[in-house]
C-alpha cells in the first residue's frame, strides 16, 4: 500500500513536469499576451518592447521555461501581471484557494448527501413514479449549464428567499486563522461569521452541485440495481435481517465502489464548474482568478493555478483508489 502510494506520487511529479511544459508552450501560442493586455490602447512599439524585455518574454521559450523551473524550485512562481498585478502568483493562490475548497467541498457534500440516498430509493422503487421522476430530474441536472442555473438561482432564489446573491468577499470583519471563512468562525468562536459564510455559500454550492449530484445519483442507482440482484442480498433476506441492516451492510457497501470512483472523477468537474460559479457569484476564489488571468494573459498565475488544480485532482483520485482497499477486501489482499 505504501509502495503503491509512493509510486503514484512519483508519477504525479512526472505529470506536473510534462503539464507545466505543455502549458508553458500553449499559453504563449495564445493570441495577444500580457504585454498588449497591460498596455492596451496606450501601446507603442517602444513601450511594448521594453515591457516584453522586463517580463523576460524576449528570450527563447525554452530559456524562459528553464528559468521558470529554477525559480519554481525555490518557491518563486513569478509575479502576477493581470489578476493582482505585483502580487506573487503563490500568494494569490494561497489567498484564493480556501474559498474554492470551501465552495467545492460544500458542493460535493450536497451532491453526495442527496445523490446517494435518492439513487438508492430510485433503484429500490425501480419503474415507479419516484424512480421515473428522479431519473428525469437528474437528466435536467446534467443538461442545464452551470452558468445558466447559477444566474437563475442568483436572481430568483436570492430575491425570493432573501439569501445572499454573492459569495463571501475577502473583506469580512472576522479574525482570519486558516483562510477558510466557515472554519475560522468555529475556531475563534465567532459563530456569526461562520453562519454568515455558510449563508453566502448556499446558492453557489447548489449551483455547483447539480452536475455532480446528477452523475452520483445515476451511478448510485445503477450500482444499487446491480447489487439488489445479487444472491447475497437474497441470503441476507433469508436471514430475516431488518431492511435497514440489509441496506447498509449488504447493499450500499457493495454499491459504493463505483460511486466512490465517480466522486473522484467529479472533482475535475467541480474545478471547472467553480470557474463559472465563482464568476457569477463574485467569489474571490481560484476559479475567478483563472477567468481573470485568462482574459489578461497572466502567465504566472494561470500556470500555477492550473498545475495546482491538476495536483488536487490527482491526489483526490489517489485517495479514491486507496479507499477501494477499505471498501473491498478482495483488493486489499491482492
Amino acid at each position: 500500500m505504501l509502495r503503491y502510494t509512493i509510486r503514484r506520487l512519483v508519477q504525479l511529479v512526472g505529470v506536473v513536469l510534462v503539464l507545466s511544459l505543455l502549458l508553458f508552450a500553449w499559453m504563449r501560442l495564445l493570441p495577444g499576451g500580457p504585454v498588449s493586455a497591460l498596455l492596451g490602447d496606450r501601446s507603442t512599439p517602444e513601450k511594448a518592447a521594453e515591457l516584453t524585455k522586463q517580463l523576460g518574454l524576449d528570450q527563447p521559450i525554452f530559456v524562459q521555461y528553464i528559468k521558470f523551473l529554477g525559480r519554481a524550485a525555490t518557491g518563486d512562481f513569478g509575479v502576477s501581471t493581470g489578476v493582482q498585478p505585483g502580487d506573487s502568483a503563490l500568494d494569490i493562490f494561497l489567498q484564493r484557494f480556501p474559498a474554492t475548497i470551501e465552495l467545492s467541498f460544500f458542493a460535493i457534500v450536497i451532491a453526495i448527501a442527496i445523490g446517494v440516498p435518492l439513487g438508492y430509493l430510485a433503484a429500490k422503487r425501480r419503474g415507479g413514479w419516484f424512480d421515473n421522476f428522479s431519473v428525469i430530474g437528474s437528466l435536467i441536472g446534467v443538461a442545464v449549464p452551470v452558468f445558466f442555473l447559477a444566474y437563475v438561482l442568483k436572481d430568483a432564489a436570492s430575491v425570493g428567499l432573501g439569501l445572499p446573491s454573492q459569495g463571501r468577499q475577502g473583506d469580512i470583519n472576522a479574525t482570519r486563522v486558516t483562510g477558510f471563512f466557515t472554519l475560522d468562525g468555529v475556531l475563534t468562536g465567532e459563530w456569526d461569521a461562520t453562519f454568515d459564510a455558510l449563508e453566502h455559500l448556499i446558492l453557489p454550492s447548489i449551483a455547483l452541485a447539480t452536475i455532480p449530484f446528477a452523475v452520483i445519483f445515476r451511478i448510485t442507482r445503477a450500482a444499487v440495481l446491480d447489487v439488489l440482484d445479487e444472491d447475497f442480498v437474497r441470503t441476507a433476506e433469508a436471514k430475516g435481517l431488518t431492511a435497514q441492516l440489509i441496506r447498509r451492510r449488504h447493499v450500499l457497501r457493495n454499491a459504493m465502489l463505483p460511486v466512490v470512483t465517480t466522486i473522484g472523477l467529479q472533482t475535475g468537474a467541480l474545478l471547472s464548474g467553480a470557474v463559472l460559479t465563482e464568476k457569477v457569484f463574485s467569489i474571490p476564489g481560484v476559479g475567478q482568478a483563472l477567468a481573470i488571468g485568462f482574459e489578461r494573459r497572466d502567465y504566472p498565475v494561470l500556470l500555477l493555478l492550473i498545475i495546482m488544480a491538476t495536483i488536487v485532482y490527482v491526489v483526490v483520485n489517489l485517495l479514491v483508489d486507496l479507499s477501494y482497499a477499505l471498501i473491498d477486501p478482495r483488493i486489499r489482499t491482492r
Binding site: F232, R234, A238, K239, R253, D328, R330
Partner: protein, 332 residues
C-alpha cells in the same frame, strides 16, 4: 400435525405485455418434524420458485402467489413483511446453490454468521462471535477463529457452503430448505456437504426440504420424494418405493437416465427425449405427454388428476408397469 403444510401453492409470474406464466401450479406436500422431503425435477419445473414462495422471498411485484403454506399452523403467506422477517432465519433457514455469490464479498464471514444470531437470539456481538466459532466448528471448518475474520474469497467452495449451512442453522430452525446445495461444488466435496447437512439436521431435529435435480442426493437423504414436472407434483412416494418402482414415466425416465456402474461397457444412456420447451399446458392434458413414451390419446385431451393409486400419489393416465426396462435407446 405436520410442521409444514403446503396446499395448492400456485405462483403465477405476470409481466407487462406477456402471457402469465404458471411456474408453480397447485403444489401440495407435507413435511413432518425432523423429516427430510425431496423436491425433484429438471430446470424450470418450479422447485426453486416453490422454495422461495415458502420463504417469502419472491418479488412482491410480478409474482402472484395463492394457496396456503402453513408452518406450525400459521399461514406464512398471510403474514406481514415484518412478521415474516421475524421468522426467516429463526424458524426457517435456507441454503442456496452458489456459495460464492450467496455470501457478501465485502463482509467478514464472522459478521455474516453473527448478524443472524444478534437479530433473532438477541446475543451481543461478543456472545455471537463465540457461538459463531462453535457453529463453524460444527460444520467442520478447521481453524474457525481465523476463518471468522476472513472474507468469502479466502475460503474454498466447500468451506463457503459449510459457512452458509452454519448461518442457516445458527438459530436452530425447525425447517431448513436447501436449494441445490451441492450443484456448484466438486463431486468430492458434494458428498461431504451432504453428510454434514444430514448429521446436523438429525442432531437438531430439523426438518429438511431438499431441492435437487440429482436423484443421487435424494437416494441418500430423503424420506419422501415429490417429483415435479411443469409446476405440478406428478409422483409422490416414500423414497424406497419411488426408486424400486417408479410409476410415472417421467420419474422412470429420470432414473433410467442415470449412468450406472453395473452397466455393460458401451451401453448407451437413455435420456428423456425432448425438452421442457415441448410441454403442453396442463389445461389441455398432461404437460409431459409430448415427451412421454407411454402417451395415449387421452393424455393430450384430459388433464390427469392426482390420484392415490399404487401406494403413492400419482398424476398419470398410463403408469409404467413395474419391471419395464428403460425406454428404447435414443442416440445422444
Amino acid at each position: 400435525m405436520a410442521l409444514l403444510e403446503v396446499r395448492d401453492l400456485t405462483v403465477v409470474f405476470q409481466r407487462k405485455g406477456e402471457e402469465p406464466f404458471r411456474a408453480v401450479d397447485g403444489v401440495s406436500f407435507d413435511v413432518e418434524p425432523g423429516q427430510t422431503v425431496g423436491l425433484v425435477g429438471e430446470s424450470g419445473c418450479g422447485k426453486s420458485v416453490t422454495s422461495l414462495a415458502i420463504m417469502g422471498l419472491l418479488p412482491k411485484r410480478g409474482a402472484k402467489i395463492s394457496g396456503t403454506v402453513k408452518y406450525d399452523g400459521t399461514d406464512l403467506l398471510k403474514l406481514s413483511d415484518k412478521e415474516m422477517r421475524d421468522r426467516r432465519g429463526r424458524d426457517l433457514g435456507m441454503v442456496f446453490q452458489d456459495p460464492l455469490s450467496s455470501l457478501n464479498p465485502v463482509v467478514p464471514i464472522g459478521l455474516q454468521v453473527t448478524e443472524v444470531l444478534e437479530r433473532h437470539r438477541g446475543l451481543s456481538r461478543k456472545e455471537a462471535m463465540i457461538e459463531a466459532k462453535n457453529l463453524l466448528d460444527k460444520v467442520g471448518i478447521p481453524d474457525p477463529n481465523r476463518r471468522l475474520k476472513e472474507y468469502p474469497h479466502q475460503l474454498s467452495g466447500g468451506m463457503r457452503q459449510r459457512a452458509l449451512i452454519a448461518i442457516a442453522l445458527a438459530c436452530r430452525p425447525k425447517l431448513l430448505i436447501a436449494d441445490e446445495p451441492t450443484t456448484a461444488l466438486d463431486v468430492t466435496i458434494q458428498a461431504q456437504i451432504l453428510s454434514v447437512m444430514k448429521e446436523l439436521v438429525q442432531d437438531l431435529g430439523t426438518a429438511l426440504v431438499m431441492i435437487t435435480h440429482d436423484l443421487g442426493v435424494v437416494a441418500g437423504l430423503c424420506d419422501e420424494v415429490n417429483v415435479l414436472y411443469g409446476g405440478k407434483v406428478v409422483e409422490k412416494a416414500m423414497r424406497h418405493k419411488l426408486f424400486a418402482e417408479p410409476r410415472h414415466p417421467y420419474t422412470h425416465g429420470l432414473l433410467a437416465s442415470i449412468p450406472r456402474l453395473d452397466a455393460a461397457p458401451g451401453e448407451k444412456l437413455t435420456p428423456i427425449k425432448g425438452s421442457v420447451a415441448d410441454n403442453i399446458p396442463w389445461e389441455h392434458g398432461c404437460a409431459f405427454a409430448p415427451r412421454c413414451p407411454n402417451a395415449l390419446d387421452v393424455c393430450v385431451q384430459v388433464t390427469p388428476p392426482e390420484e392415490d393409486q399404487l401406494g403413492r400419489l400419482l398424476r398419470c393416465h398410463n403408469p409404467v408397469v413395474p419391471g419395464t426396462p428403460a425406454a428404447e435407446e435414443v442416440p445422444v
